[in-house]
């Protein structure tokens, strides 16, 4: 079971310590079904827009679901692109549920008609996340596109009217919407929905706008205080563990789960360490090669490397390192910071100098599915990256720890 690990797993210890050595199967798997999207959000993690011609076929997707069932991956987060654009989306949804693989899917809402909403309400074991990045059209639409606010609200209305319980409203926290946190909560309450907040990552097209759009230091503090007050009823997908350096642990695992408890399968079957890291540097393999996903998950060199003990690097001497663990790997990588140094949004300010360094090199993208009009920066700037729409991590609630067992609500 663990023979492939390069280092000996300790017995006992905390669950987090165990997770750092990886699991036999992911707890939380994100699967982007397509790079096709009818929107062109400025911060799209997967630089989505155009369908990849090598997109997995229906049969190949069914085979993956069969394998996930064998590995007892109990649910997957489906995203894209806009996953409902795939003509076989509703078939794959049924297929997964019939094979004991629950589905949570992210959508911009454009195709959640009253009819589809009724179908979803009648389906057990499915969860819907509607993406919204402003509590008003004035804040949302400049980022996600004209009319996208109304589109999302229409979907939420259709779901509520169909009797679909507890939809999620998925918000990427930005400089422009952080003042709307209470308004988002009110909006969610109105629809009987749950608010889900995630971090803006400099991944995909997000690399183009991250500098202007990521929350300021003051706003990060505001967000932290808000989460401490309201965190109980709000999902965060373990997004904000870098804020734990302020003092209090954030909801979730407070751990970078990349390649350890989470990973991503992209529309052509490539497996990446996490939903925010679609780049060759973090590509572990492809589900169509060799013995499929299980082999990639359990034996790929990259994942074994990520599961070996990490050093804190420049962070080791920081008093907060035990809380934030150096922050998000993808955020560091896509801002050109060393992976064993502080997060670009380090709340102690330890990355400020590095971010100002004129020699900082932003890595080139490995791929880009944007439509031609979707890139803000198309000049000779050493940027262009890749990856997903509101990608949920493990979009889950707090994990409580007792002597012998731990529990997390999914």
């Amino acid at each position: 079971m663990t023979e492939t690990l390069t280092t000996v797993r300790p017995t006992g210890g905390t669950l987090i310590e165990q997770f750092e050595f990886g699991l036999d199967a992911p707890i939380c798997l994100t699967w982007e079904l397509t790079y096709a999207c009818n929107l062109s959000c400025n911060h799209c993690l997967s630089s989505s827009g155009r369908r990849d011609p090598n997109e997995l076929t229906t049969k190949q997707c069914e085979d993956i679901i069969d394998e996930l069932q064998r590995m007892q991956v109990f649910y997957v987060n489906i995203g894209g692109g806009e996953p409902t654009i795939r003509p076989d989306f509703w078939h794959l949804l049924d297929y997964a549920i019939a094979h004991e693989v629950g589905i949570k899917f992210s959508t911009n809402g454009s195709r959640i008609t009253p009819e589809k909403a009724r179908l979803l309400a009648a389906t057990d074991y499915v969860d819907v996340q509607v993406s919204l990045d402003g509590a008003t059209a004035q804040v949302n639409d400049p980022l996600r596109g004209e009319g996208s606010f109304d589109m999302a609200l229409k979907a939420l209305t259709n779901l509520a009217e169909a009797g679909f319980k507890d939809a999620k409203i998925s918000v990427v926290v930005t400089r422009d919407n952080v003042h709307q946190l209470d308004a988002f909560k009110t909006l969610a309450d109105q629809f009987g929905a749950t608010l889900r907040l995630t971090r803006l990552r400099p991944s995909g097209r997000g690399a183009d706008i991250w500098d202007q759009l990521h929350p300021t230091a003051e706003q990060q503090r505001e967000l932290y205080d808000w989460l401490l007050l309201n965190g109980e009823g709000v999902l965060t997908g373990d997004s904000f563990f870098h804020l734990a350096a302020y003092g209090e642990a954030m909801p979730g695992l407070n751990l970078c789960g990349a390649g350890r408890v989470v990973c991503l399968i992209d529309p052509i079957g490539d497996v990446y360490a996490c939903p925010f890291a679609i780049h060759d540097r973090f590509k572990a393999g492809n589900v169509l090669d060799g013995n499929g996903f299980q082999e990639v998950w359990q034996e790929s060199e990259l994942f074994l490397e990520l599961r070996s003990p990490q050093t804190g690097g420049a962070c080791s001497s920081c008093s907060a390192y035990d809380s934030c663990r150096g922050g998000c790997m993808a955020a560091k990588f896509f801002t050109g910071l060393p992976l064993d140094g502080p997060d670009p949004e380090c709340v102690k300010g330890h990355s400020e100098d590095a971010l100002l360094d004129p020699n900082r090199v932003i890595p080139l993208a490995s791929q880009d599915h944007s439509r031609a009009s979707a890139r803000k920066n198309s000049g000779p700037i050493p940027i262009t990256i890749s990856r997903q729409v509101p990608a949920r991590f493990c979009d889950e609630d707090p994990l409580t720890e007792s002597a012998a067992l731990n529990s997390v609500t999914t």
Binding site: L23, D24, A404, L405, N406, T410
Partner: protein, 100 residues
């Protein structure tokens, strides 16, 4: 709290996935994920067969008596999460409403 004389059974809605540190238990109804951090606990939970009292199960799994308290507490938590049901008369588990 659970009594040592109670007859217990793993909920039919729960699947156990073995992991190097123990197991991961998933409840398909209320979608709770629970981590069983000790292989011994996994052994005990897997041995709840709906016929033997908890005490016999602990003995069969060779859990030393001084540790029974820790194990019954863990079992009680799992019962609260609807992962384990009691089959003993008057001890029927209170099922939590499903969170669909």
């Amino acid at each position: 709290m659970v009594e040592l004389t109670e007859i217990l059974q793993l909920s039919p809605s729960v699947a156990l996935r073995p992991e190097p540190f123990g197991a991961l238990a998933y409840h398909f109804g209320n979608r709770r994920l629970t981590f069983l951090k000790r292989p011994e606990l996994v052994q005990v939970v897997s041995s709840l067969n709906g016929t033997d009292p908890l005490k016999d199960v602990l003995q069969k799994c060779q859990i030393p008596e001084p540790k029974w308290d820790v194990f019954t507490k863990a079992i009680a938590s799992l019962m609260k999460a609807d992962m384990i049901h009691s089959l003993s008369p008057g001890k029927t588990s209170q099922k939590e409403p499903h969170n669909d």
